[in-house]
């Protein structure tokens, strides 16, 4: 019984549930950061310390900071929280939750009847990950850099103000 794994998993599930039910965007972001940190603990338990560090630095650090920055730019006040509460009717939750519960039951059944589940804790060193990344996967790294460049150009174009675009 690996107690840190189960505690971190429970924290991840609860905080992720809180993310999708909050009315305020900032509260949801902070809960998502808690969830990502809990998943980083799980990565550490699974023997992936490099990925755990990247989860904290890039996901909980960089990507969430971009979200916080945009929420700040949007300047959402109490008015938007009230509108959000009005949109969050319990009736709207029924259909997706029923469908999600059916899918969850199926997936949990399938993973529970696995013949040889085995242990998922094995240390794969960052050295092996780096050697694989720049060995058999070098084409994927190049494509990833293209994708990030395309994302940069797309974000620049979309976020430009319309007055500047007219000029």
């Amino acid at each position: 019984m690996n107690a840190p794994f189960y505690v971190a998993g429970a924290i991840a599930l609860v905080s992720t549930l809180l993310v999708i039910t909050r009315a305020s965007a900032v509260h949801a972001l902070l809960y998502l950061i808690v969830s990502l940190l809990a998943i980083a603990v799980i990565f550490f338990q699974l023997g992936a310390p490099f990925i755990a560090a990247l989860e904290v630095i890039i996901y909980a650090g960089a990507i969430m900071v971009v979200f916080v920055f945009v929420v700040m730019l949007l300047n959402l006040g109490p008015r938007s929280v009230d509108a959000e509460r009005a949109w969050l009717s319990p009736v709207g939750f029924v259909g997706p939750i029923v469908l999600g519960a059916i899918l969850a039951a199926e997936l949990l059944y399938i993973v529970s009847i696995a013949p040889r589940p085995g242990s998922a804790s094995s240390l794969v060193s960052p050295t092996a990950v780096g050697a694989s990344l720049f060995g058999p996967y070098y084409l994927g790294v190049e494509l990833g850099s293209f994708l990030l460049l395309a994302g940069l150009v797309g974000a620049l174009h979309l976020a430009r103000s319309t007055e500047q675009a007219a000029r």
């Binding site: 997706p96 242990s119 994302g151 976020a159 319309t162």
Partner: protein, 102 residues
């Protein structure tokens, strides 16, 4: 350190993914939809890392790095769209963007 059963870890990834899916279906605010997509991408990455650890291969962690790159690109474009939508209609309701124009 006690071993983690692979099926429990995969079940956790499946549950996190489904919470993100429910979030995409339920919410109407574009920021929350993007957050839910982040949850789903992260859960898929967790499943990849569990698979890699189960078979003692680095490929799962390599795939997580690619998912990280995809998530970063998706967030930058998505948040650009959020800013544009907010500037146009003063609302983040995705239904307000149902009729796109040039």
């Amino acid at each position: 350190m006690f071993p983690v059963p692979a099926n429990v870890a995969l079940g956790l990834a499946a549950l996190l993914f489904l919470i993100g899916l429910v979030g995409v279906l339920v919410r109407r605010n574009l920021v929350f939809i993007l957050l839910s997509i982040e949850i789903m991408l992260n859960a898929a990455g967790l499943a990849f890392v569990v698979g890699g650890a189960r078979w003692h291969q680095p490929d799962g962690q390599v795939m997580f790095l690619f998912i990280l790159a995809v998530a970063a690109a998706e967030v930058s474009v998505g948040l650009g769209l959020v800013l544009r939508l907010h500037r146009q209609g003063d609302s983040l309701d995705v239904d307000a963007a149902s009729s796109l124009r040039g």
